[in-house]
Structure formats: structure tokens, C-alpha cells
């Protein structure tokens, strides 16, 4: 595990720091692409919320390359891959009673998504 030098601790905790990885990994999707969140149910850690699984969304923005929490939480490799802001409409998630004006933007890793 990398250490954080003493002189970096206060700046990182006060101002935050990006976990973006400087790796040349090709993005599977681009802005505007339609995607479906995979129905994954790992026994370990994931950042894929239950209410998104199997739901259809649209890539809003490509954030760049980050480590995959699902492997990093269990002593595994970083599994670097692209992360996206994905837009899901409230109606897609909660049905016809939800507001037609509302959407949820969720950060999603490549491994969480299939092409729709």
C-alpha cells in the first residue's frame, strides 16, 4: 500500500485529491452511449448500488481512469479502467410515478456496464 508523506496529509484531507490513474486504458463508451448496468451481486465490496442493476442509462461524461473498488477492497490489483458519469432518469429507476424532470447521475466503472 503506498504511504502518504507527512507534508501531504493535511492538504489531502483538507482539500481532497484525485485518485485518477495515469494509465492508457481505452474507454469502452463515449458520451451519449446507451448502457445497461450489469446485474452484479458480489459478496464483497462494490460501488454499484442495487437500485441501478439492470437499469438503462446514458453516458454523460467520461471521467478518466481509476482503480476498481471491487478488487482494491480485497487485496487485489487496481484493475485500472474508465469511470463515467451515467445519467439514469428517475422514471427508469422508480417507475411512472417519478418526476419526468428528475435524473440521477452516478459514477460507474467500465466493469459495471454493458452496451444497451
Amino acid at each position: 500500500m503506498p504511504t502518504l508523506p507527512a507534508d501531504m496529509v493535511v492538504p489531502v484531507f483538507m482539500g481532497g485529491a484525485s485518485a485518477r490513474i495515469d494509465a492508457d486504458v481505452v474507454a469502452k463508451f463515449k458520451a451519449g452511449d446507451e448502457v445497461i448496468a450489469r446485474n452484479l451481486n458480489p459478496a464483497g465490496h462494490t460501488r454499484l448500488p442495487r437500485y441501478l442493476r439492470g437499469k438503462r442509462g446514458t453516458i454523460h461524461k467520461v471521467h478518466g481512469v481509476f482503480g476498481l473498488p471491487d478488487t482494491m477492497a480485497h487485496g487485489g490489483s487496481e484493475t485500472p479502467q474508465n469511470v463515467y458519469s451515467v445519467r439514469f432518469t428517475a422514471r427508469e429507476l422508480w417507475g411512472d410515478d417519478a418526476s419526468a424532470r428528475d435524473s440521477l447521475y452516478v459514477d460507474m466503472w467500465d466493469d459495471y456496464l454493458d452496451s444497451a
Binding site: M1, P2, T3, L4, A6, M8, V9, F13, N41, P42, A43, G44, H45, T46, P49, R50, Y51, G67, P69, M72, A73, H74, G75, L93, W94
Partner: protein, 103 residues
């Protein structure tokens, strides 16, 4: 994991009760918990994903009943035991001492 932490979309949890002029820490032990976690994290003993997963492993009823920094403390203890930095017996002895002092 499909745990209690994944609350999105659940009903019946009530409104978020925002505290006016909320202090960063509500008690000194919270400040110390934050400092211990930060020192251990900066020292490279674990990554943030491991820490989050340890919080997810808090027993469901406890998860809902305990406070934010109690989750942090639980996570720190669990991760340090898992990594062999802390003996379970050491931890239990420390907690027994706390309970004796509180009694």
C-alpha cells in the same frame, strides 16, 4: 455486498435531520478516531476501499443504530486486525478496560 449500507430507494428512514452549526466532531473520541484512521491510512496500512468494506460488514442492526464515527472506529479495528497490525486479544483487552472504567 448486498448489505444494509446500500440504502438507496428504501422507504421509512425518515428525513435527514440537518444539524444547525454542526461541529466537525461531537466528542473528543471522534477527533481521536479520525486522527487514528488518518495516521493508519497515511502510513499505508490499508486503502479507502478496504475501509469502506469494513464498514459494510458492521452487523445490520448495529449499522443503523451506531453513529458515523462509531462506523469509522469499527472499520479501523477490523482492518488492523485483518492486516495483522493488531491482535484480536489486544483489542478485546483494551475494550474490557474501557468498560471497567465506565462501570
Amino acid at each position: 455486498m448486498n448489505g444494509i449500507h446500500d440504502l438507496g430507494g428504501m422507504h421509512g428512514m425518515g428525513p435527514i435531520d440537518a444539524e444547525t452549526d454542526e461541529p466537525v466532531f461531537h466528542a473528543d473520541w471522534e477527533r481521536r478516531t479520525f486522527a487514528l484512521w488518518t495516521a493508519a491510512f497515511a502510513g499505508g496500512l490499508f486503502n479507502d476501499n478496504e475501509s469502506r468494506h469494513a464498514i459494510e460488514n458492521v452487523a445490520p442492526a448495529q449499522y443503523l443504530a451506531k453513529s458515523y464515527y462509531e462506523h469509522w472506529l469499527h472499520s479501523l479495528e477490523r482492518v488492523l486486525v485483518n492486516k495483522g497490525q493488531l491482535e484480536r486479544a489486544e483489542l478485546e483487552a483494551a475494550w474490557s478496560k474501557v468498560e471497567e472504567e465506565a462501570a
